[in-house]
Symmetry: C2
Subunit: 296 residues, 2 copies
């Protein structure tokens, strides 16, 4: 009976190993999926910012326009890398953890099978015990029961051996996978941060090189030009660039404002709250559809 | 009357400049506040992951335990940098944009004041025109009206001059600020990405150095040790470390599982959805309260 008890404790250890892994892998899967989802939401907000920066750039004088458009492009690049980050997290981190669900199911089936074999061994042992007490002289039946116990024990031992091998393989694979999954997580994050750093360095150079005085000259020329003629921009010694006349810019502002007022609430407080439920679909990723992170 | 019309178009240009800035600064403020908020949510998810990694580490054998705890610590460090990022974004990007609200209000008041002065000029001109048509011979009254027109024109010219100076100063400050705000944004992001890259590099080294075989030896010893005695871990030639006995670990798992089952739904699907509304407050930032990003 001692061997049965020891097997009992061994199978408990195995069950705990599997249950524990199942519990935590499930948690990791849920949390890393949420992490990817939150990253996708950060990307969406940034995409909105990119769009607004482009809209704003179109309303400004050439120098700021150039600077803002350049900045918006760099910011959009970071979002492309963030998009790649989200996709890779899902493929190399969330999916492998999800697949573990199947493996846990198989392990539970294995252990159930072992339990039924083990229960049979106990049943045969109890039967033999009862026979020995009730009819100790019935040598034939006792011998038969002894043979059944032996068979059941051999079965149980073989199943235990198999289960031990299975759990050994499972544990090895689990340790290997947990290392790989988190190494992949770290690698994906590193790649994103390195790319973001690179793009922002270039964005910094661009913003830093902005020539405010040039824009002020344009602005002053416009303001005084507007006194003379509303619909045409005066030729100016300080401005030989191909900027649109101010009145045209105004029309562009008006239509931009109109578009925004059509699509979203104007008040800042409402914008702050409404944006979180925004159904905005970034144009850039609408083009290469299928790569966009599904909204939860 | 021509001067009045030209002033009219000039003030329209000024009004458009202010209205346009107000519109976009409001949008930038809302979007960058949302960006900071989404970043804070990403930090919260990561904090949850850190917590689960620590919990999981406590249920594993010494080698994986050490590796996972080290990884959790590195991941927590990244979140500390993310927290700094959120705080700096709010202080150096969102707040300055918010403060512009006051400035826009002042500018609108200035322009309103100009409009009333300008309207007075028009009123006086119209009065003079009427007088000239109704009683062209009433030299005294006409002379009085002409004097009023002159005064109103001087007033309007002075106010226009003042407004022009104010709008010039406003535009200059606006251009300077937009450059500074986005430069600060880029600097804050760069600092975060650089730090994250550094910490993840160290996390990679740690994870990469994980010795799976050592843990497998421990696991096999435990599994066979469990056959002999459920409550004590057998001495093992391959394991001289200070790990807790497996049975104690089991209790720890059980209580951890219990805690988790008390506080949240167990099913993965529900976890995935419920986590987004989670009220989890990271312990680390509970300590230095006040620095935590307020939840929306």
């Amino acid at each position: 009976m001692n061997l049965v008890l020891s097997r009992d404790s061994q199978v408990k250890t195995m069950e705990n190993t599997v249950a524990n892994a199942e519990k935590y892998f499930g948690q990791f899967c849920a949390l890393l999926a949420a992490y990817a989802r939150k990253t996708a939401k950060l990307r969406d907000k940034s995409d909105l910012l990119v769009k607004q920066l482009f809209d704003y750039a179109n309303t400004e004088n050439p120098e700021l326009q150039r600077t803002m458009k350049n900045f918006a492009e760099e910011l959009a690049k970071v979002q492309d890398y963030r998009q790649a980050e989200v996709e890779r997290l899902e493929m190399k981190v969330v999916e492998p953890l999800k697949r573990y669900g199947v493996q846990f199911k198989q392990m539970r089936a294995e252990m159930k099978r072992f339990n039924s074999v083990r229960n049979n061994e106990i049943k045969q042992l109890e039967k033999l015990e009862r026979l020995r007490q009730k009819s100790p002289s019935d040598r034939h039946t006792i011998s038969q029961a002894e043979s059944n116990v032996h068979k059941a024990s051999v079965d149980a031992a073989r199943t235990t051996q198999l289960l031990e091998e299975t759990i050994d393989e499972f544990q090895k694979q689990k340790l290997k996978d947990i290392q790989k999954i988190f190494l992949d997580f770290v690698t994906i994050e590193m790649a994103f941060h390195a790319k973001a750093l690179e793009v922002y360095s270039s964005a910094f150079q661009n913003l830093d090189g902005y020539d405010l005085e040039r824009d002020m000259e344009d602005f002053r020329a416009k303001l005084h030009g507007a006194s003379g003629n509303q619909d045409a921009r005066p030729a100016s010694a300080t401005n030989s660039s191909s900027t649109l006349p101010w009145s045209t810019s105004n029309q562009s502002i008006q239509s931009t404002l109109q578009r925004q007022e059509d699509s979203e609430d104007d008040s800042e407080e409402n914008v702050l709250q409404d944006f979180s439920d925004s159904e905005y679909e970034p144009i850039r990723r609408q083009l290469n559809s299928g790569t966009n992170h599904p909204r939860s």
